[in-house]
Symmetry: C2
């Protein structure tokens, strides 16, 4: 859910309404992460926070609408990890180590994304219209950062197509290693990420420098 609301000073029903809404989003996120969208029911989500299913549908028009809110909340939380605007060049790539640290400490949020990404692979899944452009945007961001790195001399020059390929491979690696980490707690997300970044950036003529160090 969102951080402590800025309108904390407001009185009346509006304030409690916001809090309940956030509670619902949190409960729905946990449910979707555990059993996916189709496998979760409004009843279970409502019961988890001592509400009736009808109460949820006062805050959200439908189950689909609730899913949209959950995805927006997930985006907000995930974006908050990285600086805004994103770091330039190699610093952005190196910052993915921090993302993995966050995921390690918030496995529920990670499971939410992995489960929904798998489900949303189907063209008629309600999360598909969210996932398709998001994946393209994320890959684009990594590619642009790589091109910046080349322009700044942090890595060797490379074509736009090569940058996009490296970006897709980074996204693929992160998704895939996250699946393995969820299936097997012995898999160390941070260690694997550092190994990948170190190898990849070396190959591209650069160096991996851990963030904040």
């Amino acid at each position: 859910m969102a951080e402590v609301p800025a309108e904390g000073g407001k009185r009346g029903p509006y304030r409690t309404g916001l809090r309940t809404r956030d509670q619902i989003i949190a409960a729905a996120s946990a449910a979707f992460a555990e059993r996916g969208y189709h496998g979760s029911s409004l009843r279970q989500i409502a019961a988890a926070i001592g509400l009736s299913p009808a109460a949820i549908l006062r805050h959200f028009d439908s189950k689909d609408d609730l899913l949209t809110a959950v995805l927006e909340d997930w985006t907000a939380q995930t974006n908050a990890i990285q600086g805004q605007p994103r770091p330039r060049g190699l610093a952005f790539w190196a910052g993915q180590r921090t993302v993995m640290e966050f995921h390690t400490r918030h496995l529920g949020l990670l499971a939410l994304f992995i489960v929904l990404a798998g489900e949303a692979t189907a063209p008629d899944h309600p999360a598909n219209p969210f996932m398709v452009p998001r994946y393209e945007a994320v890959a684009r961001g990594y590619a642009d950062a790589l091109l910046e790195a080349a322009a700044d001399g942090e890595i060797a020059p490379l074509t736009s197509a090569d940058a996009l390929r490296e970006a897709r491979h980074l996204v693929a690696f992160m998704d895939g290693i996250e699946v393995q980490a969820l299936l097997n707690p012995d898999v160390d997300l941070v260690a694997e990420m550092e190994a990948y970044l170190s190898q990849t950036l070396t190959r591209l003529g650069g160096t991996y420098v851990p963030p904040q160090a």
Copy 2:
């Protein structure tokens, strides 16, 4: 479903029974790939092949039992792509290009795995007991092949831990790039796989040689 049954010469109900069972598995695989396990109903699966839900439960004890059969069938089909026993050393790694060719031509089978892998991330999902050991076994196989390659002088020497790491990264890359290919048909699984293999095997002191060439 399985190939043409070996007992094709048998008469009577047994033969048709086998065929119906395979039809059910095929319909269930398609449904699970489209909407996941939780999102699919026995009614929909039955209707897709002109059966009643009750007929399915003559062939399978429960919906969970049907899922087990689908996963076993998926394993059989996937294993059939690669040689038995698996090729030794680098040939096994290079053979993953062929796997991607197969996946490109059978996107339904690919979607089935990706969707269920995501769902099965949850510890109490019925496919979790299938996925956890499978991922370990697959990684183990890639790692062993890499150690063979080192022993045969195909790549530079490496430790067992490094081999397992490379194996996990290969699995991660394959899973992740498959998700992207399902979300965006423009992603070329074979081309991305060749790029990954070429880069990785070069880094390990070897060379990527396309299979059957």
